[in-house]
């Protein structure tokens, strides 16, 4: 192998390490610095061919009735694939949706989470926030799935609009993986 090719191979390897470290760091930063938020959820259907077994999490804030929250002028034109910014407010121990913005608003609201519109039906939108999957060791996802209705909560970390799942709570106790 020539010197140039050796150098380029070294560069390619450094690039790969950088990619992996970058993915890990950007996500770890959210977990380390994010504000803890508790969300109510209903877990459904596991499995992913590349990454293994997981629980699919459907939050209360995943479905938003636009007529029941504050919206900006762009809300009428919201379509599938659009980015929205959802302000949350504490309601008891959980956080719920308070406002839906199509552009980042200047005013300060509650904790703000960025999401992507997956569907729209008249005044209701379905939003995903990148926190809809929780991976578990093989054979353990079913434990969360079989938990009674309303017994599963998720604590996320929210930082600069991005959220990551920190832990899943079953009957108020952390699900240990």
């Amino acid at each position: 192998m020539s010197k140039t090719r050796s150098l380029l191979l070294g560069l390619a390897v450094v690039l790969q390490v950088a990619v992996l470290v970058w993915i890990a760091l950007t996500n770890q930063r959210i977990l380390d610095n994010g504000e803890p938020i508790l969300l109510q959820t209903a877990p459904v259907d596991p499995s992913d061919p590349f990454r293994g077994e997981y629980v699919s999490l459907n939050y209360e804030i995943s479905t938003i009735d636009l007529s029941a929250v504050n919206v900006d002028e762009g809300a009428a034109g919201i379509e599938r694939g659009d980015t929205v910014y959802v302000d949350l407010f504490p309601d008891g121990k959980y956080h719920k949706a308070n406002s839906v913005w199509t552009e980042i608003p200047f005013m300060l609201g509650g904790p703000r989470i960025q999401g992507r519109v997956e569907w729209r039906s008249e005044n209701t939108i379905g939003v995903t926030y990148g926190i809809e999957q929780y991976f578990t060791p093989q054979g353990r996802a079913i434990e969360i799935e079989r938990s009674p209705q309303d017994s599963v909560d998720v604590q996320i970390r929210l930082w600069n609009g991005s959220a990551r799942v920190e832990k899943v709570l079953v009957n108020g106790k952390e699900f240990v993986r």
Partner: protein, 421 residues
């Protein structure tokens, strides 16, 4: 070596007994091939033990990591993944430096596979939800670059497979267009040229994956009915141009075009027109564009063949694409494919005749396979309409047997007097 030595000792003793050589000569011969010594046997045992020990340590480490994976902190997991990847690449570099190409390629492949696995494992660690197939694209692009640097066919095919996975997930799960896939595939062309040695199977893998991606893209724009024959004709046309530089590579590319269109028609037949029906049941702008491209290429192909005074047999090749288009249109309109297949069989027969006239190996061999396939397709179409039960199998078997016999005889005759190109 030791087995040869003991064989020599026994055999040479019988040579002395038979009087072929003297005892002194026998000793001299045996001395030339030393018997297994204590040191020789001794050096093998530690090697085996070391290999066994390395295997045990490896399995132990793997089991340790697997059983403690969930308990490890994210930082430890990321470091561990990087260490494994770096070790694989370091092994590859060392192997290449020592001239061990196969080991180098194997380690490079391990490194790139570890990189892909690490992306998905880190995604799992942070419970990331994917909104696109960019992780697969990043993995494939990196593997492609490693393939280029190592000139490894093995790593190159791995990169192609990852690209195919990206294209399928990107198109069918995330409903995005496949243009990026095509761009990366085009970027891979210089890498193909850099590969040395026997690369026919690598080229074939490349063309198969490229074709899947192209059909995916055409289906997305509802332009597959004429789009696929147009793509096949484009390959045929490029092959015509390549033949000016390399006759064998050009003919190979032309026949890939013929194969693509034949398989498309046969797949449509097997699915009873479902393929073209599902892709599009109406004429859409994409089809019209593809028809324009097809017509333009068709005129250009014939024009260049005439200008370059290609032999009569080769000119007939172009006719093959007419029935392919007709068949595709019939399929799209939900009409029987029988007429199109009849024309396809006739056109493929012309290709065979062209090959026989010029004694060309590629055209004859491939033409025989395609002609056989088309006849089989025609038989399926006819039998399903006219012949039921045992009669269908019996007649079909006899017809196919006769066709196979005639094709082989024709091929052998032609090859005897051909140029073997």
């Amino acid at each position: 070596m030791s087995e040869k030595n003991s064989w020599l000792r026994q055999e040479s003793q019988s040579w002395v007994t038979d009087g072929l050589i003297s005892a002194e000569q026998r000793d001299q011969i045996v001395e030339r091939y030393p018997a297994e010594t204590e040191s020789g046997t001794g050096s093998l045992v530690p090697k085996l033990l070391m290999g066994f020990a390395a295997g045990l340590v490896g399995i132990g480490l793997l089991l340790f990591v697997a059983s403690n994976w969930a308990q490890m902190s994210n930082v430890v997991k990321v470091v561990l993944l990087n260490v494994v990847m770096l070790a694989a690449y370091a092994g590859s570099w060392q192997a290449y430096r020592r001239g061990r190409e196969s080991s180098g390629a194997a380690f490079a492949l391990l490194g790139s596979l570890t990189f892909g696995a690490a992306i998905f494992l880190i995604g799992q660690m942070y419970h990331l939800v994917a909104f696109n197939a960019n992780a697969l694209l990043t993995w494939a692009a990196v593997t492609l670059f490693v393939a280029y640097l190592t000139r490894s066919r093995l790593v190159f095919v791995a990169a192609l497979s990852e690209l195919l996975a990206y294209d399928l997930v990107n198109t069918w799960e995330y409903h995005n267009s496949g243009w990026i896939f095509l761009v990366v595939m085009l970027l891979a062309v210089p890498f193909l040229r850099g590969l040395q040695g026997r690369r026919q199977w690598v080229l074939t893998a490349y063309m198969v994956i490229l074709t899947v991606g192209v059909i995916d893209l055409l289906a997305r724009y509802e332009a597959a009915i004429i789009g696929v024959p147009a793509y096949a004709l484009l390959l045929y046309f490029i092959g015509l141009l390549v033949r000016r530089r390399s006759e064998a590579e050009g003919i190979w590319l032309q026949l890939v075009g013929v194969r693509v269109s034949t398989l498309f028609v046969l797949a449509d037949l097997v699915s009873q027109g479902e393929l073209t029906d599902t892709i599009s049941t109406r004429v859409v702008p994409g089809d019209l564009v593809a028809t324009g491209v097809f017509a333009g290429l068709y005129v250009l192909t014939w024009g260049l063949q005439l200008k370059w005074k290609r032999p009569h047999g080769e000119l007939l090749d172009g006719l093959y694409f007419v029935p392919v288009v007709l068949t595709a249109w019939y399929g799209g309109g939900g009409l029987p494919l029988l007429e199109g297949l009849l024309l396809a069989v006739a056109a493929l027969f012309w290709i065979l005749q062209g090959g026989a006239m010029n004694g060309e190996r590629y055209r004859l061999n491939n033409g025989s396979v395609l002609f056989g396939l088309a006849v089989f397709g025609l038989y399926v179409a006819v039998a399903s309409e006219l012949l039921q039960g045992a009669a269908g199998f019996l007649v079909g078997g006899i017809v196919l047997f006769a066709v196979a016999f005639l094709l082989e005889r024709n091929r052998r005759r032609a090859m005897k007097g051909g140029d073997g190109s």
